[in-house]
Amino acid sequence: MQTHIISLLVEDHPGVLTRMSGMFTMRGINITSLTVSPCEKEGLSRMTVAIDGSESELEKVRKQLSNLIEVVKVVDLKEEKAVIRDLCLMKVHVKDSNARSEVMQLAEAYGAKIANATLDSVIIELTEEPRTIDRFVDLMKHFGIKQLFRTGVTAIGMDTGGGLER
């Protein structure tokens, strides 16, 4: 088992998301994260899907996705050849000024921003590779995470694949 990131260019129609996710459901594959957004061409959307699965499962699902009529392009993004980002928003408990300054120092070390602060909590915003965020989240658990939101990964290939450029 390994995490794969699949980048899809799809026609921006109602039902495309259901059709795409149904492909995974039918094969019993769990989607670990999913983002959908407009892209460089009007009428098309980009979906970034992260799944856990074997190489052969990925290959099967990739071909089945290509078969969907409204899917224009499917790219399996390799980690080492892609810029991968996840956005995390979290509310961390700070019991006193000591805790607050520690949290803020750590946030700074990770390049995170303080989006809001109250007397007993701070809201931290961090955009990073998912693994870095995982580490930061682990650190913040020591202080107490009240709420955690992550957008799920979005990713862009460093070479030409994935987009409409040739």
Binding site: L9, E11, R19, S56, K63, N67, L68, I69, E70, V72
Partner: protein, 572 residues
């Protein structure tokens, strides 16, 4: 010139006609009143009123398989659409081009649990190649055009168009017959020359080449090319259930159907070959058995398929070749002819001759020792019916008797539910087949269990003068399940006995059809003659042994070399 505004329903019918539609099988309903009103006034499209939507889908499917172009079925919203589901899933599994039109509640009411509302769009998504929910009348021309284009290109399949009532009733000003399609839909037709060369080289150097033909060969109209290649290579041909008819089964190179209920010789050839050219098949478990390492263990595996997603899905192959079967076979043959190669070793040719004659002996001899009444009947049917007769089957023992013993000589004359295994398919499919080819005789080989699932459409046959002949293997059991209970569950016949009800002859007569009982195999020929001569839809009630079995077979979990019940096969 000012254009007259067209109603959505008129646009639909105009576009159907533009796609060459001549027949539709369906049942109207509240939300389809506008569409049926246009059909009422139209004199091009013949609408056949079915008695159940499932039958409408099966009939469209049968029609499509006979003609090789899309069949059309129509159902209303809610229960009409959900009744279609089985038939659509069946057609899609067997890559049969069907376009389904369903009514839907008005767009403003969608999602409100309105009367006769079901989310047809989401329900049918996993069982269609593609589907549409039309929300604007202006979109109808493009949607209908694409429905036919998608259904009938690439790997063929089912496309459903869901039509809300207001979309059909609204008048708009539109351009008809658009040509635009989807950016992402480009069916790959032309095979890669590098893969062609690799394939040809393997075949040229093989000592024991074998061709495995699936339904894709028939659907690509590639049967001539297949026969030429087989003859040129000296390679025997085995088929899947869907591939029956890809080569005349009396051809000296034909070894018949392989797989779970296939012929032992066909399975043997798969085990012995050193190069296997598989064309238009998806290596279903009913073909390969459950031990994949035992499937063609000595062979270089070549897989020709129009659907790239089938490559390495069920079986890892050595040479994939994505593209249209007809083009691929032509190219392979061209390459081989250029580099005239040695034909396969005479040992293999001799071996094939042996296997073929063993086949002929076992399959052809009607009264072979130990033959069951079912065996005798199906062999008799195969002898009596001429080459042009279209045979459809239900699912279960009757289907496997037919697959094993019925000698199919032409493509598109053997029509069966392969992937989904839908009981009740054969009879409505026969209706579709007869409508597609009114000059040909159409026979449904049925079981009593299967026929009872869709027999109400005898009314459709009688009312519309569609004289198909149903031959029922009447064993008072759900025979195939009973056979498994006998062989693998120590004869505990749980819920497979059907009793003796109904009297099928009187049932036929009640519908105004012809009915006759066949108590002994020797009565069959005359009964068939009577049925055809009656000019009516007919039901022949053939009484068979209650414990007749389809043998040999690969037992569950078994491999292609591990068939049981081979006692009556000639050892080779």
């Amino acid at each position: 010139m000012t254009r007259e505004k067209l109603k959505g329903a008129e646009i639909v019918v105009e576009e159907l006609k533009n796609e060459g539609v001549e027949v539709a099988f369906g049942i109207p309903g509240g939300v389809l009143l506008d569409l049926y009103d246009v059909l009422y006034k139209d004199d091009v499209i013949r609408h056949i009123l079915m008695r159940h939507e499932q039958c409408a889908a099966h009939a469209a499917d049968g029609y499509a398989r006979v003609l090789g172009r899309p069949g059309v079925c129509i159902a209303t919203s809610g229960p009409g659409a959900t009744n279609l589901v089985t038939g659509l899933a069946n057609a899609n599994m067997d890559s049969s081009p069907v376009v389904a039109l369903t009514g839907q509640v008005p767009t403003a009411a969608i999602g409100s649990n309105a009367f006769q509302e079901a989310s047809t769009f989401t329900i049918t998504m996993p069982i269609t190649k593609h589907n549409f929910l039309v929300t604007r009348t202006e979109d109808l021309p493009k949607v209908i055009h694409n429905a036919f284009y998608i259904a009938n290109t690439g790997r063929k399949g089912v496309v459903l168009v869901d039509l809300p009532k207001d979309v059909l009733a609204t008048r708009v000003d539109v351009n008809l017959h658009p040509k635009e399609t989807f950016t992402g839909y480009k069916p790959k037709i032309k095979p890669n020359p590098v893969q062609i060369k690799k394939t040809a080289e393997v075949l040229a150097n093989a000592e024991r080449p074998l061709i495995l033909a699936g339904g894709g060969v028939i659907s690509a109209n590639a049967t001539e090319e297949l026969r030429h290649l087989a003859e040129f290579l000296g390679a025997p041909v085995v088929t899947t259930l869907m591939g029956k008819g890809a080569i005349p089964e009396n051809h000296p190179f034909s070894l018949g159907m392989a797989g779970m209920h296939g012929r032992i010789y066909a399975n043997r050839a798969i085990s012995e070959c050193d190069a296997l050219l598989s064309v238009g098949t998806r290596f279903s478990d009913r073909l390969t058995g459950w031990q994949l390492d035992q499937f063609a263990p000595e062979a270089t595996l070549i897989h020709v398929d129009i659907d790239a997603a089938e490559i390495n899905k069920n079986l890892q192959v050595d040479i994939p070749l994505v593209g249209d079967a007809k083009l691929a076979l032509e190219e392979i043959l061209k390459w081989l002819e250029k580099k005239r190669t040695t034909s396969p070793g005479s040992v293999w040719v001799q071996r094939i001759r042996e296997m073929h004659s063993a086949c002929e002996e076992c399959i052809g001899d009607v009264r072979r020792e130990g033959a069951s009444i079912s065996d005798m009947l199906i062999k008799e049917i195969s002898k009596v019916l001429d080459d042009d007769v279209i045979v459809t089957t239900e699912v279960g023992q009757c289907q496997m008797f037919a697959a094993h013993y019925y000698i199919t000589k032409k493509p598109r004359t053997f029509i069966s539910s392969g992937g989904l295994g839908t009981m009740g398919f054969g009879f409505p499919a026969a209706i579709g087949a007869k409508v597609a080819a009114p000059d040909k005789r159409v026979v449904d080989l049925a079981g009593d269990g299967s026929f009872l699932m869709t027999c109400h459409d005898l009314a459709t046959c009688v009312e519309n003068d569609i004289p198909v002949v149903v031959c029922i293997f009447h064993n008072c059991y759900l025979g195939m399940v009973r056979q498994w209970q006998e062989l693998f569950f120590e004869k505990r016949y749980s819920n497979t006995g059907l009793g003796t009800i109904p009297d099928f002859v009187r049932l036929a007569e009640a519908f105004g059809a012809y009915g006759e009982r066949v108590e002994k195999p020797e009565e069959l020929k005359d009964a068939l003659q009577n049925a055809f001569e009656s000019g009516k839809p007919a039901v022949l009630d053939m009484i068979v042994g209650q414990e007749d079995k389809v043998l040999p077979m690969i037992p569950p979990g078994g491999s292609i070399v591990g068939m049981i019940g081979t006692e009556r096969c000639k050892p080779i």
